[in-house]
Symmetry: C2
Subunit: 278 residues, 2 copies
């Protein structure tokens, strides 16, 4: 469990606001791992975590990459969640959301170790079903909801930019969600492909942390994101997945991942200094 | 796999458009099942299915009720999916949705038996991320997407009713999704608590099947839903969960479930005759 204060402390200490996305695809991991281990996905994750844990402040497995393998996939996810370092924010990217009591079950699944064996600090949630689909996650004290606002997908244009009484739907989502809980409990997903939008988003979410996917493989630019989105407490968690975890496909994959993470951490340090966070 | 024509055929043959929701909660099932079987959730589902299969045309397990038990829960879900009768539409109520390649993994999870052991005919999908979060499910030929439009939760008011250029967001979702695929591939979730809305929804979805939760325990009224929502091909799949599966908590739970399902089937038969479907 990582409170807002602890998260900010970690960012200052590690001079990083990097999240490593554990979107581990069995078809993309080195063959010596795939062939040499009973649980290659966990083994891969373990080595990536060992190689990057001092350079990042969060890890984010995407549930789909594990669910597609059925029972063994879920076992890999559970083992990964147990292995995640306690000083990093552990995010399950599950994009869940259902009516109240059902969202409550998803919350138990990912937040309560006694339910399914997982104890994540935070979960991504889809906003479409509104308040009662989100609040059951907030009922778990100390846990975080990371609500989808503006995603980095092509389809974000279909609904998220629709005009709702003079503002976009995603702005309305942020505005409304901020009445459900404070910036110590809710973050928002904001895609990095639209970095100029960040200054606008900060009008609606001046204090919230924003989880920013799309830097690296998806084409976002770290400097631009910071120019428009960074706050005096940083307020950003920037995720990179493929550019780090698949930096090499050979025996040196973990070292290569570390080198990529280090490059991002160093760029982030510059931005943190520039913004006066450190 | 059930095509639109086969689904309509089943409805006419069984004189029913009932979906039984397998929202199986370990805390609510009879104690003789809970204590007497290695996999009580599957045993419960099996008996419910055996008792209702000639009265309904669809089954819908909600993923959250299984995921909260971790690995054993997933095993119960996989066994349940294998046991579902082939003449009924099998719907996984998972409300998934992610960027393109990730949605593709969720599609494999639930549609491709070789991935996770499940082979559902249909999945509920959340619309917020737009086109590329939905189309990967449609890439599985013969499978159905059931998109959230108007849900029966309190929180539906937060975003689904927002005014977008003179129509509501949920109408816009229906309108746009109908450009992605035909009524032979896309259905919509429409909550039964707003039965007067159905005539309006039919302007945007004249041919689509609508999956209607909220009849029974959630307070919806079957006759009203039909008055405003039924079409010449029926066009409705009405779900009931708690009112059927928890009709009794004793040794007779399966018979009691059958009696509740029969009551609904008989009411549905009247509506099908009234609408000229049979």
């Amino acid at each position: 469990m990582l409170s807002r204060q602890q998260l900010i402390q970690q960012i200052k200490q590690k001079k990083s606001f990097l999240c490593v996305g554990l979107d581990t695809d069995i078809e993309k991991i080195p063959s010596f791992i795939k062939e040499g281990y009973a649980d290659p996905i966990f083994e891969f994750n373990k080595r990536i975590i060992d190689a990057t844990r001092d350079l990042c402040i969060a890890y984010k497995p995407n549930a789909a990459f594990y669910e597609r393998h059925g029972v063994p996939g879920l076992q890999s996810l559970i083992k990964t969640s147990e292995y995640l370092p306690k000083d990093c924010l552990s995010i399950i990217d599950a994009k869940r959301g259902d009516i109240g009591n059902t969202s409550g079950m998803y919350a138990r699944t990912f937040f309560d170790r006694n339910a399914a064996g997982m104890d994540f600090d935070a979960i991504t949630v889809a906003p479409y079903m509104g308040n009662d689909s989100v609040t059951p996650f907030l009922a778990f004290e100390g846990k975080w909801v990371i609500l989808l606002a503006l995603t980095s997908s092509v389809g974000s244009k279909d609904f998220q930019y629709l005009d709702v009484d003079g503002q976009t739907l995603y702005e309305t989502v942020i505005q409304k969600a901020n009445t459900w809980a404070g910036a110590d409990r809710i973050m928002f997903v904001v895609g990095a492909t639209k970095s100029t939008e960040f200054s606008n988003i900060r009008k609606f979410a001046p204090d919230n942390f924003l989880l920013v996917p799309g830097v690296g493989a998806q084409g976002g630019n770290l400097q631009e994101v910071c120019q428009y989105g960074i706050t005096k407490n940083c307020g950003l968690i920037v995720n990179a997945s493929r550019s780090i975890i698949y930096a090499s496909n050979g025996e040196d994959f973990a070292e290569a991942a570390r080198a990529e993470a280090l490059k991002l951490q160093q760029e982030m340090e510059v931005e943190l200094v520039k913004a006066g966070v450190i």
